[in-house]
């Protein structure tokens, strides 16, 4: 028996060294930059990893690929379509096994930063900077969201931002109008609550909805330069007084406008449904939720749906014209054999015609291409929201994607504790500072 154990040990050692040698064979990579004068060779296979695996979205890239293949018969487009959840695991595996497709989906913030750090993404500055031909066709704020170390790495496909949706009928009945300041919003909440309606339905079971409220308030209270310095782990100190001020405003909002500590037990989907069922007067939502919040069949009709940007608190020291939101887009694999073709495909995907298809139902993903929204086939609220996004001076990224994962986790859990009343704003900032210094 002892002898057989020895043999097993030797075999295991042999197998594991085999595994290690496979890991060791990863190619050492160097930064790759796109060459605007490179000639596009229309042949070969182009693989694309999308985040449109969802039933209602998946036809978009399928049709796009077919159109592109028809245009260039030598090219074959291979799609790997994933959903919101599976794209994370899939991307990690593909990166680890060195088989990332030519074009792949990426979020902005630290997710995209990892590709840049690992030299997996092509530096697209020469073709997509805001002053280039292609860059000029895209919303500048969206292109800049994929800027790392002063270079541009991503192709924004669609954008998203947060707005406060409200029920016009409830507001009219109580003699209220869209509030002009944060303080006015709080007093409106008191009036709505007295009438027996929940002022803002807020579901924070998933923890990111609180991040969205706090993120917008931070953008209003903390100057942009300081925010960006704190997003970078090397320079983060989170010392600005605006942080605590913003969190105090958030606490007031939870206390006066929502169900209080109960929000942590409600899912965001129930909160949205409460707004749709006209049981609440307001719901803080992403622009891609507009068409869902009010439908002809729901209690809240599209004609009664209105929206405003979260009002700015008086005396806030940040940027009052900022909107919290982020585009989502695609990067080109630095190891791709045919980078010019990959770029050409993405130019095709972001062309005005294809952008308008993307913005309109059934896809309803507000395109990042200028003029990609057409009033003919989109709901008026979405078109107006897009105008607001394009006019924003700064797109404040989602807090949980802008920060390194460990800091993001602290933001998520402490803001939930703040909403539940078990932490004070000062304690939240202490926790965040602790996490930020641990990541340094």
């Amino acid at each position: 028996m002892e002898r057989s154990l020895q043999v097993v040990a030797v075999t295991l050692a042999a197998v594991s060294s085999l595994g290690l040698s496979m890991v060791g064979s990863f190619a050492a990579s160097v930064p790759v930059a796109a060459d605007p004068s490179a000639k596009v060779e229309y042949s070969g296979t182009l693989s694309v990893l999308t985040k449109f695996g969802l039933q209602q979205l998946s036809p978009y890239f399928v049709n796009l690929a077919q159109d592109y293949e028809k245009l260039h018969p030598g090219v074959k487009v291979e799609l790997i379509q994933e959903s919101d959840d599976s794209v994370k695991g899939k991307t990690k595996t593909l990166v680890a096994s060195n088989s990332l497709p030519d074009i792949y989906f990426s979020w902005t913030g630290s997710w995209g930063g990892n590709f840049v750090r690992g030299n997996r993404a092509v530096d697209l500055s020469a073709v997509i900077s805001p002053d280039t031909d292609w860059g000029k066709t895209l919303s500048p704020a969206a292109v800049k969201a994929f800027e790392y170390n002063g270079k541009f790495y991503g192709i924004p496909l669609y954008q998203d931002a947060k707005f406060m949706g409200y029920n016009k009928q409830v507001f009219a009945k109580l003699g209220l109008k869209a509030p002009a300041s944060f303080e006015e919003l709080l007093t409106s909440c008191d009036v709505i609550r007295k009438s027996g309606v929940t002022p803002i339905s807020f579901g924070n079971k998933e923890a990111w909805p609180a991040i969205h409220f706090a993120g917008q308030l931070l953008a209003y209270n903390v100057p942009q330069a300081k925010l960006e310095r704190d997003f970078d782990p090397a320079t983060a100190d989170y010392s600005d007084a605006g942080y605590v001020a913003a969190l105090k405003q958030f606490s007031q909002l939870v206390e006066r406008c929502t169900d209080g500590a109960g929000v942590n037990g409600t899912s965001y989907a129930s909160a949205l449904q409460a707004f749709t069922n006209a049981q609440s007067a307001m719901y803080y939502q992403e622009i891609i939720e507009f068409d869902q919040a009010a439908t002809p069949d729901s209690a809240l009709k599209p004609a009664d749906f209105g929206f405003f940007r979260l009002p700015v608190p008086t005396g806030a020291k940040g940027d009052p014209k900022s909107i919290e939101g982020a585009p989502e887009g695609y990067m080109i694999n630095a190891a791709s054999k045919n980078i010019p073709l990959a770029i050409d495909f993405m130019k095709f995907a972001t062309s005005k015609e294809n952008a308008q298809v993307l913005s309109a139902p059934p896809y309803g993903q507000p395109s990042a291409t200028i003029g990609g929204a057409s009033e003919k086939n989109m709901s008026a609220a979405v078109v107006d929201g897009l105008k607001d996004i394009n006019a924003a001076s700064y797109l404040m990224p989602w807090l949980d994607t802008a920060n390194p994962p460990r800091v993001a986790a602290v933001w998520l859990s402490s803001l939930q504790a703040l909403a539940g009343g078990s932490m004070t704003p000062e304690q939240v900032m202490d926790e965040v500072r602790k996490a930020a210094s641990a990541v340094k």
Binding site: M1, S4, L5, V7, V8, T11, L12, G19, M22, G53, L54, Q55, Q56, S58, L79, I80, Q81, E82, S83, D84, D85, S86, G89, K90, T93, L94, A96, S97, N98, S99, A269, S270, Q273, A274, T276, N277, E286, I288, E289, Q292, S298, A299
Partner: protein, 286 residues
């Protein structure tokens, strides 16, 4: 006098045993409700719409229409069920046959270094699927099997052979060797002994193994998510997540899809319930 005492005592005993039985039954009924109610709730929610699911989650549906079920079926569940059935059946057959052969070899034949072979086969139980993913991706890509049914069939078989062999081997160890000897006397070859004698005798454990494998393969998510993409080769667990979205999920359709996907497993379980418990109890603990 003594007769009345005895009668009183037996009545006494009867009362207690009745109470015990009642308690036992009510406990079992509660257990059944805890298990069955969520399933029924899921099936009923498939008849509602979003407003009703969130508004009156526990009320009965207002309209009994199969619309959501039809929509779920047409929205891809049909394809996912087909793929799931194909992968599950193929991998179940492969796993059980390979394991039965292995177990037969390990218990019935004169093989050199048996303990070592047993150690290697059972050692497979210690390999966590998660840590093997990256080499497996590379391997299957090199073989051209990435994103095919074969990827899943091979992996499910490979990762379940050790456990299944473990169960079947334990069962075979208990079969009397006299039968084999009698068969040899009658001129049967080893192959004939396996197919005609040992395998039929192992029926209960084989059926348990099939059920356990079906439960595993039907619900497996990680491999199915990593090794396939696109709706034509995706299994149910992965397919169901593509019906769910962060925004704009029609929960009634999701519930309907979940009900459809749970149905085959529930049917299999009830059909083979007898073997399920008996076979498992017989196989384990040896």
């Amino acid at each position: 006098m003594s007769a009345t005492v005895a009668a009183g005592r037996s009545r006494h005993v009867n009362v207690w045993s009745a109470i015990a039985t009642t308690l036992l039954y009510s406990f079992l009924v509660c257990l059944a409700v805890i298990v069955i109610y969520p399933l029924i709730w899921m099936a009923l929610s498939g008849f509602k719409d979003n407003a009703q699911i969130f508004g009156d989650p526990f009320a009965l549906p207002v309209h009994w229409s199969w619309n959501n079920y039809v929509q779920a079926w047409n929205q891809g569940v049909r394809g996912y069920v087909t793929v799931s059935v194909l992968v599950t059946v193929a991998s179940a057959i492969c796993t059980v046959l390979i394991s039965a052969w292995t177990a037969f070899g390990l218990t019935r034949t004169k093989m050199p270094a048996k303990p070592l072979v047993i150690a290697i086969v059972l050692g497979g139980l210690m390999l966590s699927p998660t840590v093997a993913i990256i080499p497996l991706v590379k391997m299957l890509q090199a073989l051209g099997l990435y994103n095919t049914y074969w990827a899943l069939i091979i992996l499910y078989t490979a990762f379940r052979v050790p456990f299944t062999t473990f169960l079947i081997r334990a069962y075979m160890l208990d079969l009397p060797e006299d039968i084999d000897e009698a068969a040899t006397m009658d001129g049967a070859s080893e192959g004939q002994i396996f197919w005609r004698i040992t395998l039929p005798l192992c029926r209960p454990i084989i059926i348990s193994c099939v059920i356990l494998h079906v439960l595993f393969a039907w619900n497996e998510y990680l491999f199915a998510m990593i090794f396939t993409s696109g709706s034509d080769v995706q299994t149910l667990p992965v397919g169901l997540t593509s019906i769910m979205a962060t925004h704009g999920t029609n929960y009634a359709v999701v519930f309907a899809a979940m009900t459809i996907s749970a149905l085959p497993i529930v049917v299999v379980f009830f059909a083979a319930q007898r073997y399920f418990i008996r076979g498992l109890a017989e196989g384990i603990g040896k």
